[in-house]
Structures are given as C-alpha cells and as structure tokens.
C-alpha cells in the first residue's frame, strides 16, 4: 500500500472541495454538539440521581436540638423514640429496607454533594438524623408516611422522589429535544456528505476510471474519499467536543454552579468521558456515509 499516494490524494481532494468540506465540518460539528449536549444532560441527571433518587424513596427526618413543631416538643430525638420509629418502619409491610443516617453521616453526604460551596458554613448538629426508607412498591408511600408522621421525635416525612420528579422531567425533556435535533442534524450531515462525495467522485472520475482499469482494489480506490470524509468528521467532532468543554467550564461551572449551589453538577470526569463518544460518532457518521455513497458512484 502506497500511503504517500493516498495521503497526497486526500490533501488535494480536501483542497479541491474546500467549501463542501467546510459545510460538512460545520454540520458534523453541530450534530455532534447536540449529541454532546444530550450526553451532558444525561450525565447531569445521573449525577443527581446517584445521590438522591436511586438510594432513597422516603426520608423520615427526626428532630435535632434546634427543631420546633408538633413532634419535636421534647427537643432532640431520644433513643427510645428512634427505636419506636424504626420498629414501626421495619414492621410495615410496604417497607423493603431502612437505613439509619446519623447527623455526622448526613454532614458527610452534605459535604460530598455540595463541595466547595455552603458546606463549610454548616455543622453536623444543624442537620437531622434520618431513616432512609426504601419501599417495595414506590406508589404505596402514603401508608408509610401516615404510619410514622405522627410519632414523637419525627420532624418531617418527605417523599423525595415526588420532590425531584418535575426536575427530572425537565432534564428528560431537554434530553429528548437534544436527541431530536441530533437526529435531524445527522440526516442533514449524511445528505451533505453524500453530495460532497458525489462531487469528489465526479471530479476524480478520470483517475478512478484508470485505477479500476489497471486493477486497483476497491479499497484502494475508495480509501482517499473515505479518509477525506473521516477527516472532516474528526474536525467537526473536535469542534463539538470543544463546545461541550466550554459549556462545562463557562456555563455550568462559571454560571449555573454559582447561582444554584444546592444542586450537584456534572463533574469533569463525566464531561470528558463524552469526548471520545463524539469523536467515534463523528468519524463513523462521515466514514459510513462516504462508504455507502461510494458504493453507488464507484462501482466495480
């Protein structure tokens, strides 16, 4: 295989079709940008779910020394009250499992979730002891809530899934929107690539005709075209990846995280994990589109 020939063909091809190549780069960048946005939204949802959603369904918060209200007349919850609450929970038929969370543990979780923000201003005794309750059937939360809500030492019973649902609905909706835009842009990119390849194949029909005649393999004839498309694909994907990184650095870290400190935001690890996906998708998208087009225009 003569790589020098392939390489020089690719360079001439890219130069000859510069405007079309740029159009391909831009459409690939936009489609991969939306794909990246979708993946980023998904990572964001996962980050939040990891902490809140999958672990807990109902949280029974118990009184600390500062709490006031019906169940908290006696101040900090006592061991007897805790035993009674735990026994009520474990004996309830709908309850699957119960985890106890002390004030120190609550503080730890709080710190993990809101690192570098307000965690420093909070002390463990300001937080509440809690039972985290998992239900056999999440729909049956009302019975469990009413069973423990009135017990002494219980400050508040929260069905966290219900609290978070609207928020996840929004993220879910955005993900679908990103997926839809991705799909539309991918179609546009494929059509554009097909057209670009068609033009390239036409402008090089003398060369490819002779190559066929003297017995160059199909792979060898098609390789420069596919590489051209793949290079445009990589370039577009790099731009998209840069866009995703900028969104994380400037928008999420630079703005959202400052305004909404109580939300756990997607971290750099998750963000950078998206990049290889964009690269692979960009290259596959263009190379496969090129390959399929070539089957039509460079037949044996």
């Amino acid at each position: 295989m003569r790589f020098q020939y392939v390489f020089s063909e690719v360079v001439t091809g890219l130069r000859r079709n510069l405007t079309m190549t740029l159009a391909v780069v831009i459409t690939v960048a936009i489609s991969m940008g939306f794909l990246g946005t979708g993946l980023l939204l998904r990572a964001q949802a996962e980050t939040m779910k990891d902490y809140w959603y999958d672990k807990i369904e109902i949280s029974v918060f118990m009184c600390n020394a500062f709490d006031k209200g019906a169940g908290c007349a006696g101040g900090q919850v006592t061991d007897e009250q805790k035993a009674k609450i735990e026994q009520t929970l474990t004996s309830h038929p709908e309850v699957q499992s119960v985890f106890y969370e002390s004030q120190d543990e609550a503080y730890q979780h709080f710190r993990e979730q809101f690192q570098n923000s307000i965690a420093d201003t909070i002390t463990p005794d300001q937080l509440q002891e809690a039972y985290r309750v998992q239900l056999g059937n999440p729909e049956e939360f009302e019975g469990v809530v009413s069973a423990v809500a009135g017990l002494p030492g219980v400050h508040q019973v929260v069905d966290q899934r219900e609290l978070l649902e609207p928020f996840f609905d929004v993220i879910n909706g955005l993900q679908w929107a990103a997926a839809a835009v991705t799909a539309i842009m991918v179609v546009a990119a494929v059509l554009l690539i097909a057209n670009t390849i068609r033009l390239a194949a036409f402008s090089r029909r003398r060369e490819t005709g002779i190559m066929r005649l003297v017995g160059a393999s199909n792979f060898y004839i098609q390789l420069p075209f596919i590489l051209e498309a793949a290079i445009a694909g990589v370039t577009g994907a790099v731009l998209a990846a840069a866009g995703v990184v900028l969104v994380k650095a400037l928008f999420i870290d630079g703005r959202l995280a400052k305004v909404l400190e109580f939300v756990a935001w997607v971290d750099w690890n998750d963000t950078l994990e998206i990049v290889p996906w964009l690269m692979v998708s960009g290259v596959l998208l263009t190379a496969v589109a090129a390959f399929l087009t070539l089957r039509r225009y460079l037949r044996v």
């Binding site: 003569r2 002779i210 005649l213 017995g215």
Partner: protein, 239 residues
C-alpha cells in the same frame, strides 16, 4: 461435457454469450461463441454498434453477460467474486481511442500511476517504467505532460501504461481511431512487438487498411452476431 473441458484452456473463451442492455430491444451480443488462444493477435471488426466494445467490456468484467459463460485466463467470470475482479484486471492491459491519460501528470507519472495504485514498490516502479518507455520509444520524454505530446506519442504512453505490468492480454479499443495513417502504422508495429513477447492482443478496429496489411486473425461481428472468424484475414467489410 468432456469436450468443453478439453477446449477449456483457451485464454479467452465465450460460450453462447448474449448481452442485452437494459431498455434496449436488440442484444449487443447474441449467442457468441469464440475462443482466443494465448499469444494470438486478433482483430475484432464490424460496424459501429456491432458489439466490439461490449465484447471487450465483458472480458474485463465491466459488464456481465445476460446469458452464457465467459472464461478469461482460466477464471470463470460468472463465478469470480467482485473483490477478485481487480486481480483479473491486473492481468489485462487496456488501450482506448481517446488515450485516457491524466493531464496533470507527466508521462512518467502516468505510467507509474498504474503500478502505484496496485501497490508496487518505488524500486519496482523505477525499474519497470523506464524499461517500458524505452520499449514504446518514448525514453527521454519522461517529464513531458500529455498535452505536450503528439497523438501518436500519447497513445504510446497509454500502451506503455497498459503493458507496464506485463499483462497476459492487451485489449485495444480502436487505438488508431484518432491517429493519421502514418502514425497508426507506428502504433501497429508497437502492438505487434508486444504480441511477439507472448502477450495476447485483441484489437477492435474500423481501420480497413491496417487489418488488410497485418494479415492476422479477424473476428467480424454484425449486430451482435459472429459473421466471420478467419485466420490471416482481411477486413472484407463492404458497406
């Protein structure tokens, strides 16, 4: 069929081949049976549309026959898978009336291109290309571009490109069609010399005087049918 087997070692062999192009009422070739042995020089004659070019395209497997069998260089083309077709074509050189040179490449590069794209090494290219250029009488003009050459010289480049890989078969589709009679004679001498190296030459032509002078085997087609197969023949086609 034992008889078929015995005759099976012809270099090119058509067995009852019919080619019907889509959307055409009359077949381009009709029930053609013909054999060409290794080392032969064959003229393919007949009026335009008689099926000469179709014959050549079938040998190259650029087209598939509607019915019938074709064997080339020991391969049954019907059974030859698509990815092996390039290997078949490496054993066949092809020359056209319109030369089909690459205008932005020098004479040397045009010939070298044929070797480059089938993955030959630079060493082999630097050895074989000058040799074939000498054979066709173009040594010393390696760096000319095609439009700096005469028609006859351009056709010599095309022949050099077709022959540089030492094919078994050289197909020529009206190679003298764009050339004046004196230049044509030079091209025919060159093809004859190539034939003497053992390469089978199949030349489709309209050029009566050339066929009459060369006294080689003549296969005449008319409307896709074989009407004459004569060794040491003349053009003999009367309008």
């Amino acid at each position: 069929m034992p008889e078929t087997r015995r005759r099976g070692n012809a270099l090119i062999r058509f067995d009852n081949v019919t080619k019907l192009y889509p959307n055409q009422a009359l077949p381009a070739l009709q029930d053609l049976t013909v054999e060409i042995e290794k080392g032969e020089f064959v003229f393919l004659v007949g009026p335009s549309g008689s099926g000469k070019s179709t014959f050549l395209r079938l040998v190259l497997k650029e087209e598939r026959p509607t019915s019938g069998r074709i064997r080339v260089a020991g391969k049954d083309l019907h059974r030859l898978s698509n990815w092996k077709v390039p290997h078949l074509r490496r054993r066949i050189g092809t020359v056209f009336q319109d030369f089909r040179l690459l205008p932005n490449k020098t004479l040397f590069e045009n010939v070298a291109f044929a070797l480059q794209v089938i993955g030959k090494s630079r060493r082999q290219i630097n050895r074989d290309v000058p040799a074939v250029l000498e054979l066709v009488g173009l040594d010393g003009k390696e760096n000319r571009l095609p439009d700096q050459l005469s028609g006859g010289e351009q056709q010599r480049v095309a022949i050099a490109r077709a022959f540089v890989n030492r094919p078994l078969i050289l197909l020529a589709d009206e190679p003298t069609g764009n050339l004046d009679p004196a230049t044509s004679v030079g091209i025919m001498k060159l093809l004859d010399r190539i034939n003497r190296t053992g390469t089978t030459v199949v030349m489709a032509t309209h050029d009566q005087s050339i066929v009459d002078q060369m006294r080689k085997r003549v296969i005449e087609l008319d409307a896709g049918r074989l009407v004459r197969d004569q060794s040491r023949g003349v053009y003999g086609y009367t309008r």
